[in-house]
Subunit: 200 residues, 2 copies
Amino acid sequence: MRVLGVDPGLTRCGLGVVDGGTGRSVACVAVDVVRTPADADLAIRLLRISEAVEHWLDTYRPQAVAVERVFSQHNVRTVMGTAQTGGIVALAAARRGLPVVFHTPSEVKAAVTGSGRADKAQVTIMVTRLLKLAQAPTPADAADALALAICHLWREPMRARIAEAEARSAEIARKHKARLAAAARAGRANTTTKRTGTTR
Amino acid sequence: MRVLGVDPGLTRCGLGVVDGGTGRSVACVAVDVVRTPADADLAIRLLRISEAVEHWLDTYRPQAVAVERVFSQHNVRTVMGTAQTGGIVALAAARRGLPVVFHTPSEVKAAVTGSGRADKAQVTIMVTRLLKLAQAPTPADAADALALAICHLWREPMRARIAEAEARSAEIARKHKARLAAAARAGRANTTTKRTGTTR
């Protein structure tokens, strides 16, 4: 399975494509950072990022897109741009019918380093090691994009299995409820018939 | 001039097209609200909204798009969705080469009611009156989209004039600086020539 990981951002947007092999083996296909000038129009910056992402989707043909889930605890201005960029990426994927999954920073850190509180340096070291890269990807946004793709490759099978199990149990619950409702209706119908009988 | 005003939101996205005539006269061309189900995938919701906005841009052919600028002071989850939707709208406009301007809620309120602290009801009343509508647009998101378009029509000429004046004064300052630098260079060259003269 091939995944495009995206660390969204207006100034620097990290893009990383990773192939997942058997077991936990992973291989880096491509990694880069798209930059847009801070003094450019917001709409133009979003357009540039959108074009870059579409180009990557066309070039590398990933089967899924993993995007970092943003929280607004941080700097307000940055977060808005990050959310807008993430939306643009999700849209480009949805246009191609690709699944998009948002992963939190701690999920990503935990997946590649074993700790949800790992720092940027640790993430970069582990990404470099896991992908057997000759040198560490820079800037951090590039390493983060690769980490997101790895996180998705490793978490997704489990996530999908849990979702399937939940859907199955919801279906069983639905059928059970339907049977109960049918039984209740049958009981009421019976009572009505009896009553009608006595009125006649 | 025709403007598409957008009150971005994942659950309800207000869209309103307004034509500006001579002076401050304005006329409503179309108004509606795009809804997406809260239980749908984020990427799918963004795709639906994007398709609706593109359809409106194709159908009504506005010359500019006005979007509400979001702040993250409010509910975190809502704000993320609003920012993502706003980004999608800006992208659709940029794809068509249309200018996109973000207006703050208080700018919009001030434009249509005279007060930046007006409430939703006042905005709806003024929008209904200004556009001479037979009945108030509902829900509030629809009225807000129309208010955004009106705000843009009234503020934009002033905003453009100010930007032009600023650009002109920056150009004058730049030329003045260049002349000063040239004079300084000429002065230094003169000194060098003199020195070279004495050395020979």
